[in-house]
Every structure is written in C-alpha cells, then in structure tokens.
Chain length 434, copies 2
C-alpha cells in the first residue's frame, strides 16, 4: 500500500471555509491518526481578496479560480463551499469528471441536481460527501447511509430549520410576538439576509428533499414538497394550544412512506408536549427516524453555524481520506439513483388530526352552523375551547379534530370561510402529529 | 470484482438471535440492494433443541457446536450472540484467527477483553462490529467511529441503562416508591433475572467502558469506572429536588477528558430540567456527545430488546458485507489499541456541584453546626430547603452546593455523619450536572 499525503482543495472561504481551515489545522494529529496518512489543504480558491488575506494557511496555494483546483492532478478531494447552484454545479461535475472525490455543504445544489450529481459520481467511481448539507455537524447522513444499513426506513420527521424553531420557541414560551422574535433571531445571527428562505420553509424543503432522496433511492424534487411558512400563527394560538390542549408548535419536515406514494411536507405542526421533538427548542435541530426494527431514533444538535458545518465537512474528509489511504473506494461510491422521481401524494390525501382556529362573529347560531359544516364532511371534534375577544363582537373557537383527511377539512373551511356572517378571517388549519 | 454470496454464521438463538434471523429474511431485498450481493445465514449454532426448532430458516445448517462454524471455510462473518465471557471469547478469537469478520452484541466480553479482541482483529485484518453492544439499534458506535471522524471528543454522557431510567422516571413523575417501580419494570420485561446488574450500575459501567475505550483509543477497564447504584434515593428526594430546585434525577454514565486524566463514572445525577437528557424518560436511552466543533449532539432511542439489538447487528452485517463485496477491508480493520490503560481520576478529584440531603435531629443549633462543617471545607451553599417530618423530631435539610471538590464534601460529611446529635442517618450526596 502506497502511503502518501492526501491533498484537499477548498473552494470558498466564507464562514464554513474559514472554520474548516482552522479545524483541519487544530485537529491535524487526530486526523493523521484516524486516516493513517497526512491530510493537507493543498489549494484554496477564493475570489475575495480580504477573505484570502484573512486566513493563515502556510504551504497552501491560493487561487482566484476554482478551475485551477480541478486542473491540479495532485488534488484528491475537492470541497465545494462557494454556494449557489450555477458555478457550484460546474465545479462539482468537473471535479468528479477529473477523478476527484467531492464534498459539498450546498443543500440547494444537491436538492435540485440530485440525480445529475450522483449519477456523475457513480460513473466516475468517486464519493460525494454531503454530511454538512443537512443539520451541519450532526451526522444524520452517516446514520441514514450506514448506521441503519439494511433497514427499511418508514418515516423521518425533523426540525430542520433553526431560525423557524427559534422564533416559534420564543413565541410559545415567552409570549413575545412574531415580529419581536424575528428581530431577536436576527440579532443572534440566526437569520439569512432574506429571512423568507427560513420562514417560508424553502430551506427545510431542500433539506427534506436531500434526506428523502437518500432514504428512497431516487430524487425527491424540493418543489414537490408541500410547504407552508410560519406566518399565519399568532402568539395567542400557540399559548391556547399549549395551555388548553397540551400541544407545542414545531416547524416540522415530514417524509412518510405510504401504500400509495410518499408524504413529503414542511409545515408548522402541533406535537404532544411529551413527544421527543417537542422538547427540541430554540435554534436546535432534530431528526426522528422510524425504521422497521430499531425503534424510533432521535438525533439532536446544532443545525447551523460555521464551526458545526465545518465539522460535518471534516467528518466527510476523514472518511474519504481513509478509503483513499486503504485503496478502498468501492463501498463509498454512491449507488445510481433510480431514474423515476418520487411520487409525492397530494396534500389533500393527508390523514391526520387537525387544530383549527375560527375567528367567529359573536352572535347566536354561528357555532351550530360551523359545527354543522364540519360534521357534514364527517369531521369529528375531539375537544374545543371558545374564547371571547375584548371587543365583545368576536369569538375565537379552537378545535382539535379526530383523524380525518385534509381534503375534508379544506372543503368544510371553504364553505365556512366565504360566509362573512360566520367568520371574520381565514380559518387556521394546522396538523397535529400523532 | 467477484460477486458472490456472503455467508453469515450465527451463534445463539436467544431473543436477539431469533429477531436477527427474522429481520434478515424480512429485509432480504433491501440488504441485497445495499450490499450488491446476496447475504444469507449459512449456519446457526445453538445447543437448546427447543430454540433450534422454534425458528424457520430453510437452507440454513443447524449445529450444536460453534466450532462447526469456525471450521466452515465458506462462512465470512460470525455473529456471536451466545453471551457470557468464556466460550464467547474463545469463539470470537477463534473466528478472527480463522480469517472471519466478527459481530458481537456482548458488552461484558468487549468491556473486559477490549485490547485482546481488537488486537486479534487487527492482526487478522478483520472487522469487529459491536453496534448492538451499547444502546442496541441506536447507532452510537457508528457515530463515534465515523460520523465524527477527525473530531476530538471531549466528553460523553448518557443514560445507558433503561431499567434504572424507567424506575427513576416512575418515582420522579408519579411518586410511586422504589419497590413498586421495580415491580412495574419487572412486569414490563425490562429487568434481568438479577436486577442488581442494572440497578447497581454494572451494566452501564460496561457500556461506558466500551464507549470510552473507543473514544480514547485504549482500554478503559469497567472496574475502574466509579459506580453507584440508584438504591439510596427516596421518592421524597426526587420530588423535593424537582419541585424546589428544578432538578431531574437520571442514571448517568459520564466520561470526560481532563488535563490530569479521565473522569469515568456511573451514578444517579441531578440535571437541570431543561437539559437535553432530562427529558429522556422511561426505558429510553440517550447519549450526549461533546466534541470540539460540532457542538453537543444527542442520540435517543430504545436501548434494549430483541428487535432493537438485532437491528444493530443487522447494520454491522450490511456494512461488513458491503466491504467484502467491494474487496474493501482496509478501513474497517480496527486500529491497534494503545497498550496502556486509561488513567481514571479518583472520584475525590471530581469538581462539581452537589445535592445533599441531611436527615437532622430537630433541635436548636443543629443547622448552624452542619453549615459550619460545610463552610470549614470551603463548601458554599447555593440554595437550601428545610422540611420537617410528621414526627416533629426529624428535619430534612436539602442543599445544593456551588462547584466544589467531591473530596471536600466527603470530608465534611464524614465529620457530620458520625455525630448522632446532628444527623439520624447517612447524608445523601448526589452530583449536579452542569
């Protein structure tokens, strides 16, 4: 066996790239022992001069253009940390074609180009590491890929966006309103410049697409994930749900195999207070994996930040370097994804319990009419609370249904919500996870 | 590449063995796809005729003697599920010497013969899988071995014994007494015939020894783990700690690197209500991993039972079979453990906060004497609650100290506990995890 130095090329020196350079230096001894060879950053490509100057990496060649890394025949592993889906896609595909292993933390790239990237890797006989793309340093990809090898995973549900979880936690626990909570998240650096990626569920849908594609062995397009943001929920709803119904609201991403297809959705969901995900609060992320034999398994950790994401990249580097060192490449080459996409079931077919909030006109007969609309769709109510607002003219009716179809509830609400004599605003409808 | 059938030999058809045979049959299609080859149980060894007859395994040769499996040159992987440390040790060593990969769920064997087993595997160039030995199907071994490759793990703390956790949960939440809780655990099948292995911490100490040996790269002997059972704690202590101090009692196993050595202990420990491990209740197990970059990572799941343990074995089978299939063996061979043992720090050197319960004689001057004994050892009290028992002659003093050394507390209690004019029974001393 030819023991040689393993050479890494890093593209992009943002927070993750800078943290990676640092942790590769700090952990050099551990990495050497783990791999059985020296692992060095041979080249870094970064356009921004300030960023290039900010790092201390003696012995590393700095470039402006990632093409220099792809052309360097001595580079074994390319780490893509540039972001975006255009140049990043070119870099990843070119690196694989040049016979390099690739590691990326780029969820948008993987979620949108899953089949293309994995097919190219399979053809090239090279590994693609993407531990950091979902839940940063929490090794959910490792667990799904090898910790549960040979298992049939029937469902995964998780809190994949820390910003939304932080905001809902603050509203639900402390009764601050949504605007204040967002401002707090911003101050703590949990928000993107454009918070809608987090708050509207786009970020979580991409992550669910990656996990789903991995579990199902074929592409789950992120745009097929049913997606709802956290924007319709008021402080009062969260407090009422918790105090009167025992429910905690979490921004859940859910993938479930069903007989007729796959359920894939990202939406605020009520959970029983004692559910393992209900206690995952603030900026923490979690994933609950259900398989045929192992019982429910939950992983919890920090899902964002430079150091945690760099930690996911580092684990991939060491795993791939170990295989290069031992000339073991077979098992790390991704399987060819099956060509057809995942068939996602329409949201209407979701069977669940639902939490409803009606903002009703406070006059005689309103309640009976609303409950009649529900029962005509065979929706039964498990419990209900009725509150009056200070103005005396508006009532709030909170109701938790028994298990029913989303279609039935939507149909009933469609009838109710068009009657200004009954309700004053659109009725809130949130699934309750069992 | 030579694509052939991969042959498993299973020794022992207890609950785990029977569940394994079943899940290998049920998941044959998934396993074939994961491995890229057929994986079959070629031989089973089991002395008990009833057990042999109870399983349905057409095409599998049944033996009375495990030596038949070792002698069979076509067997690739031997799965040891016989238990005990004598014949099991012979089987594991003989299998490795015969060039077979080995999988075992036997925590006693690994904890006590760590260096011997891993050295033999290293010499033979064969893998040893032991995912099921700790937390059954929850892939903590995979996460420590490869999900966090290249990381310096600074501490792990976990709930590794489901029986103790079940009992403490029942006492703390429902105020049942210890005897009732144990009876309940027995009825639910959570107890061994001899419950002292669970309740006295022997089981958790073996599991911590395995995790510690893995993290530290050298043997942590289970008998060097500081070990305390859950026998000294009363219902009243748990309720008082929760209601007045906000603490939840958990049976914790803790390994921590310190500048002067390693802290390794299994003992009931108070946790802040909001700690991630505080919510892990009933028979569930959990492990919290602290590393340099990833932030705290928690894994939660069912730590016992036939199907969950078989699930851990299955994951190992598929991982090793994949490598056989791809002729990749290098990276899966365990590293040679360093020859020296882990140096475990004496318990006296533990720095922590402590929860104390004094059972005092209810007369003037007692409190001032007790607090004087504490302060003369420089122990400061963060908060304290004083309760009277119905007989009027006995007081209960609960106190949470600030951070101090176990040695100082033990010294103070030694002075206090020998004075029958002050206290009526041995003072309870439980660490508080920060």
């Amino acid at each position: 066996m030819n023991i040689r130095t393993i050479r890494i090329g890093v593209v992009g020196l943002g927070t993750v790239g800078a943290a990676l350079v640092e942790s590769l230096q700090a952990n050099a001894g551990i990495i050497r022992a783990d791999v059985g060879a020296e692992v060095v950053i041979a080249r870094i490509a970064e356009k921004d001069a300030t960023r290039r100057k900010s790092i201390h990496a003696p012995g590393t060649v700095l470039s402006l253009d990632w093409r220099d890394l792809v052309a360097d025949r001595d580079i074994d592993i390319v780490v893509e940390l540039m972001g975006g889906t255009s140049a990043a896609r070119d870099l990843v595909l070119a690196s694989l074609r040049a016979g390099k292993h690739v590691i990326t933390a780029n969820k948008a790239l993987l979620a949108n180009h899953w089949t293309e990237v994995l097919t190219e890797a399979h053809k090239a006989g090279r590994a693609v590491g993407f531990e950091a793309s979902v839940m940063a340093g929490v090794p959910v990809i490792h667990v799904l890929q090898s910790g549960l090898s040979g298992h049939r995973i029937s469902a995964i549900s998780g809190i994949l966006n820390g910003t939304s979880n932080f905001i809902l936690t603050r509203i639900g626990e402390n009764g601050v309103d949504r605007r204040q909570a967002l401002e707090e998240a911003r101050q703590k650096g949990f928000c993107e410049a454009d918070p809608s990626l987090d708050l509207e569920g786009f970020d979580a849908a991409q992550k669910l697409a990656i996990l789903g594609s991995l579990v199902l062995g074929r592409w789950l397009p992120p745009q097929d994930v049913h997606r709802e943001g956290i924007g319709n929920l008021e402080k009062e709803d969260l407090l009422e749900a918790r105090n009167s119904f025992g429910y905690v609201l979490k921004p859940l991403a859910i993938l479930k195999r069903r007989a007729t297809g796959v359920e894939a959705r990202v939406q605020p969901t009520f959970l029983d207070k004692r559910s393992p995900l209900a206690e995952v609060s603030r900026e923490f992320n979690a994933l609950l994996i259900e398989s045929d034999a192992a019982g429910p398994i939950t992983l919890i950790g920090k899902g964002a930040g430079g150091a945690p994401a760099a930690s996911g990249v580092l684990a991939d580097i060491v795993e791939i370097a170990r295989r290069i060192r031992h000339a073991d490449t077979g098992a790390s080459v991704p399987r060819l994804p099956r060509p057809e996409h995942v068939h996602v079931l329409p949201y209407d077919q979701l069977e669940s319990r639902f939490f409803l909030r009606f903002t009703v006109c406070d006059r005689p007969g309103v309640l009976s009419k609303i409950f009649r609309c529900l029962s005509s769709e065979r929706i039964s109510i498990a419990n209900s609370e009725i509150r009056n607002t200070p103005d005396g003219a508006t009532g709030l009716v909170y109701a938790a249904t028994y298990r029913t179809h989303a279609k039935a509830v939507r149909k009933a609400l469609k009838t109710i919500d068009v009657q200004p004599a009954l309700v004053k605003r659109k009725t809130l409808m949130v699934p309750i996870q069992e």
